[in-house]
């Protein structure tokens, strides 16, 4: 099959799936089958594309000119390929999980849920494959809007309030800050294409470059740099599968993906490293890592703790990219994949606990590991990956980030990594310890066992994925290498 056709398919399959899901409104079994088939089809297409991209092909597809000289166009490069691969694979697992979760909790409006999910994945593919900033912006906004009904799924006062924060921050930053930055770039440079080595060198003055960096970093609300991170904990009112795939993988990764993409393909690492006013990004990201970890440490609500852990892990990616040496940029790219597997496992576990035991607070989890060994086993693996302990994927990305930091002699970054590793351990390990080694509280009448099978299957897959990525990191490594131009 021609590679362009594959690209076109990757961008249409989720939408077709969404339509078919909507048409299966009255038949839940058919609806869920369609979701699974769509997810598997999308992943197969993306996997086929991956082999081509690893072989050095760069498929390109141009649809139409939105503005003169700025088309709606797609080009697959290694970073986007990795993002799409991770998101589309986890969509399959997450769909299995969703079926167990949504049925187990008897959620309403399930069709709308699956439709919005498919549209969100479509937008994610668009973000991953965009060939220029304008196309990227289109899908970035589509992702925000398609996930809004998912955040407000429960429709109660709390959900609507969370949705307001979600939409408020994401739209304000994207329309209010990112869009002007894009227009300014178009005006100064004359093109918005993503190019290896960036497009700004020689065209944008240092002063403007600094301004643009600030606008882009704070315009990408989805990357959750402090202080514009509040939408992420607010989004936790959503059903857990949404928090798992969208607010641990697709949406937040779209954010840091945009950050890495901008640094590598729009600014250019070379251009930024000569900029005198770009260093702040390293410090802000470092501060975000530490502050978010401390908040996570103090949160008793499990999903909130995970959300703040995500905020902190996202800034790992930003900090890694901001170190501005190729090897740390590789670490940033790998961390997108590594964190995705680990964090989705943790969210799956949180949802599993909620479904089986109706517990949401960390302090309620004493001794739960004996009743839910699979769930808490997976949780432990996810937690180890967050801390960066081998044999989990988190170790690999942290290794590269550290190498980069040493290479660039970025002392601050090294200190942040060490401190945050301690903090990560401090807020994850007690949960694991309590679950397995503490006695369940007296009078806990909840006589529950493991969560539904679909949920257990899903979290087992992602937990194993976290370990498999440690032993077989070839694909992400190859993609990351080829992104920074060290050869595929």
């Amino acid at each position: 099959m021609s590679v362009t056709l594959l690209l076109a398919l990757a961008l249409t399959v989720p939408l077709v799936g969404a339509v078919l899901i909507a048409m299966s409104h009255r038949k839940p079994n058919q609806r869920e089958t369609v979701t699974l088939v769509t997810a598997v089809a999308l992943f197969s297409i993306v996997a086929a594309l991956t082999t081509r991209v690893l072989a050095g092909e760069r498929p390109y597809l141009e649809l139409l000119d939105i503005l003169p000289g700025i088309p709606l166009a797609f080009r697959i490069e290694p970073l986007g390929m990795m993002f799409a691969l991770v998101a589309s694979f986890l969509w399959i697992v997450n769909s299995i999980y969703s079926i167990g979760y949504m049925r187990g909790n008897k959620e309403k409006h399930q069709t709308r849920f699956y439709v919005c999910f498919a549209v969100a994945l479509w937008a994610t593919m668009g973000v991953a494959f965009s060939a220029n900033l304008l196309s990227l912006f289109v899908f970035y906004e589509a992702l925000t809007i398609s996930t809004y009904p998912l955040v407000t799924h429960h429709g109660d006062e709390k959900a609507v309030r969370g949705g307001r924060t979600y939409l408020g921050i994401l739209l304000t930053t994207s329309i209010g800050v990112m869009l002007p930055a894009i227009i300014l770039t178009a005006y100064l440079v004359g093109t918005l294409d993503f190019k290896v080595g960036g497009i700004m060198a020689g065209k944008v003055s240092d002063q403007m470059g600094g301004l643009l960096l600030f606008l882009f970093m704070y315009g990408t609300g989805k990357a959750a740099l402090m202080p514009i991170h509040r939408w992420l904990p607010a989004a936790m009112v959503a059903p857990t599968p949404v928090s798992a795939l969208l607010h641990a993988v697709a949406v937040v990764k779209a954010g840091v993906f945009v950050v890495v993409k901008l640094i590598v393909y729009t600014f250019g690492i070379g251009y930024l490293s000569k900029l005198t006013n770009a260093e702040w990004l390293l410090y802000v990201a470092g501060a975000t890592i530490l502050i978010a970890s401390i908040i996570a440490l103090r949160s008793d609500n499990l999903k909130r703790r995970l959300a703040y852990s995500t905020v902190s892990q996202l800034s790992y990616v930003i900090m890694a990219a901001a170190i501005l040496v190729p090897i740390s940029a590789m670490g940033a790219a790998i961390h997108i994949a590594a964190h995705a597997f680990g964090k989705i496992t943790l969210f799956f576990a949180a949802g599993s606990i909620y479904t089986a035991a109706h517990k949401t607070e960390v302090s309620q989890l004493d001794g739960i590991g004996r009743r839910m060994p699979w769930t808490m086993g997976a949780f432990a693996i996810g937690a180890l990956s967050m801390i960066g302990v081998p044999p989990t994927a988190g170790f690999i990305s942290k290794w590269y980030i550290l190498l980069g930091a040493l290479d660039a002699q970025a002392t601050a970054a090294i200190v942040v990594i060490v401190l945050s590793t301690i903090l990560n351990a401090a807020y994850f390990l007690p949960v694991v310890y309590a679950a397995f080694f503490k006695k369940p509280p007296e009078g806990d009448a909840h006589n529950h066992g493991e969560a539904p099978l679909a949920i257990v299957i899903a979290l087992t897959i992602t937990a194993s994925g976290t370990i498999v990525l440690f032993f077989l990191p070839d694909v992400p490594l190859a993609l990351a290498r080829s992104m920074v131009g060290l050869g595929g």
Binding site: L64, D65, I66, L67, P68, L72, L134, F137, V138, E141, A142, I145, T152, G155, A159, V160, R164, L167, G168, L171, T172, I175, G176, V177, L179, P180, I183, L184, A186, Y187
Partner: protein, 495 residues
């Protein structure tokens, strides 16, 4: 043969059809005739635009009296574009009007509605097509007087006071314009716009011409509802019949804006208005105030039609701001927004017309939970809202892009910031409605519980306009190309 007379037919057809409606008296026949005429008007406008784009400006001497003595119709890239906007909104709104008007106006007065509607259309098209200053005033009066009647036909009794308010303010505006034109005639002895454009600049510094400029600018600003001369607009839009609100939102203020553009750029010249006179400060300041004050007021409205009316005042601010940059990109952005705003506001008002039909109210508390009852209508409302906010792939996004670009080109980055900030206010006032419609429980009233989807005759026009928002957000070479050419022509001819 007939092709040569297209400019005359553009005006004559609706003008002749208007009294025919009175003769017909039957509501259905009057509607059918009006429908036919408004579609013909659109066809003619498109034919004229195509011809102008291909061969350059067209002039047409009425009754073969040569300009500058006779009345001349002169169609160039600018007014051909506006003609298409006005007649297209008219043509789309009319199929919709049938059910909506039937529900909102007494049966025995419906033929009068269509008669007045045709007269309004005549007036608006006439203002745009004519090349004669006094003729502009005449057509302005035709359209204004018939619009007052249209507004007063609203079911709400407050429509009467709204129409009265509009009448007073509109008359002051028209009088100012007339005084300005009179002063120009006194100084130059001509009323032909092209002729004025030649004769005014040499005597531009004289006090009489300055006064004429002042009168015309203030008069048109009143008619186009430039902040702070907008007081008549919210009530007029809120209490007029739904069809009228949609039609006027897309046409009336736009045509007044056209008069302003024509006088500033063609007759007086951009350098006179913006360099000699301080319009380069006055207009942007008023535009920015409109953007912020009107948007903020919109946030607090309970009546959604009224909210959209305030939003219109803010959007007029964008158009004025674009024009006040006096650069090709800026003027093109202003013209483009005239077009795009007609699409979005027309669509949104049509959606509210559907709500009015089924619910009998457009108060936000009555609209709670309507997303389930009228999914097709409310989905259209959401798309219209996204366009108004300026989300990519909608027409509103393209407008905003060019406005910000124009501000950056001028080096006035603070306007870029202000444009962006004010569009965030649109997020707030539109999202209030969307939250109420989708997330709040249905109120316990008969009307709310029994509300069902609007008829197809209303949904199709609604979705044509809403679909156009998406189409012109994706395929921009048409609208943008025309706007850019028109802007280049205005600036080339003006300086």
């Amino acid at each position: 043969m007939i092709e040569a007379h297209l400019p005359a037919l553009q005006i004559v057809l609706p003008l002749v059809a208007a009294p025919l409606c009175v003769v017909l008296r039957d509501a259905r026949a009057a509607w059918a005739l009006t429908l036919l005429i408004s579609w013909a008007a659109l066809a003619i406008a498109i034919a004229l635009l195509v011809k102008v784009l291909a061969t350059g400006p067209i002039t047409y001497e009425l009754g073969n009296w040569l300009a500058p003595w006779g009345i001349e119709f002169r169609i160039d890239g600018v007014n051909a574009f506006i003609l298409v906007i006005v007649s297209a909104i008219g043509a789309i709104v009319l199929p919709y009007a049938y059910a909506s008007v039937k529900a909102e106006i007494d049966e025995e007065r419906i033929y009068l509605f269509y008669c007045m509607y045709l007269l309004t259309l005549t007036g608006l098209l006439g203002i745009v097509i004519t090349g004669d200053a006094f003729n502009i005033f005449v057509f302005l009066e035709i359209s204004s007087l018939s619009t007052y009647v249209l507004v007063s036909l609203g079911r709400d009794r407050r429509a009467m006071t709204a129409a009265y308010q509009y009448l007073i303010m509109g008359t002051i505006g028209a009088t100012f314009i007339l005084i300005g034109i009179g002063l120009l005639y006194m100084m130059t002895g001509t009323l032909n716009l092209a002729d004025l454009a030649k004769r005014v600049p040499p005597i531009a510094e004289s006090r009489t011409v300055l006064a004429a400029f002042g009168f015309i600018t203030v008069g048109t600003s009143l008619k186009l509802a430039l902040f702070p001369l907008h007081q008549w607009l919210p009530n007029a839009y809120a209490y007029a019949p739904s069809t009228v609100s949609a039609f006027l939102a897309g046409t009336a203020t736009k045509v007044s804006l056209y008069i302003l553009i024509r006088f500033i750029f063609t007759v007086f010249g951009a350098s006179f208005a913006f360099d000699v006179l301080p319009l380069d400060i006055v207009l942007p300041v008023l535009a920015v105030l409109a953007m912020f004050v009107a948007s903020t007021v919109a946030i607090f409205q309970q009546d959604i039609k009224r909210m959209l009316a305030y939003s219109s005042i803010a959007q007029i601010g964008y158009m004025i701001l674009g024009i006040s940059f006096a650069s090709v990109t800026g003027v093109a952005a202003g013209l483009l927004h005239i077009f795009n705003h007609a699409l979005m506001k027309g669509g949104l008002f049509l959606a509210l017309g559907c709500v009015m039909l089924r619910l009998g109210s457009v108060q936000i508390e009555d609209m709670r939970g309507l997303g389930q009852r009228m999914p097709v209508t409310m989905a259209a409302f959401v798309v219209g809202a996204l366009s108004l906010i300026g989300i990519p792939l909608t027409a509103g996004f393209i407008s905003k892009w060019y406005l910000v670009l124009a501000a950056l080109e001028k080096g006035q980055w603070y306007f870029a910031v202000l444009i962006v900030l004010s569009s965030l206010l649109a997020v707030i006032y539109m999202w209030r409605v969307i939250e109420a419609v989708y997330f709040q429980p249905v109120p316990n009233t008969d009307a709310a519980r029994n509300a069902r989807e609007a008829p197809l005759s209303m949904l199709v026009p609604l979705w044509i306009l809403i679909g156009a928002n998406v189409y012109f957000g994706v395929e921009t070479s048409g609208s943008l190309g025309v706007a850019r050419r028109a802007a280049a022509m205005l600036l080339g001819a003006g300086s």
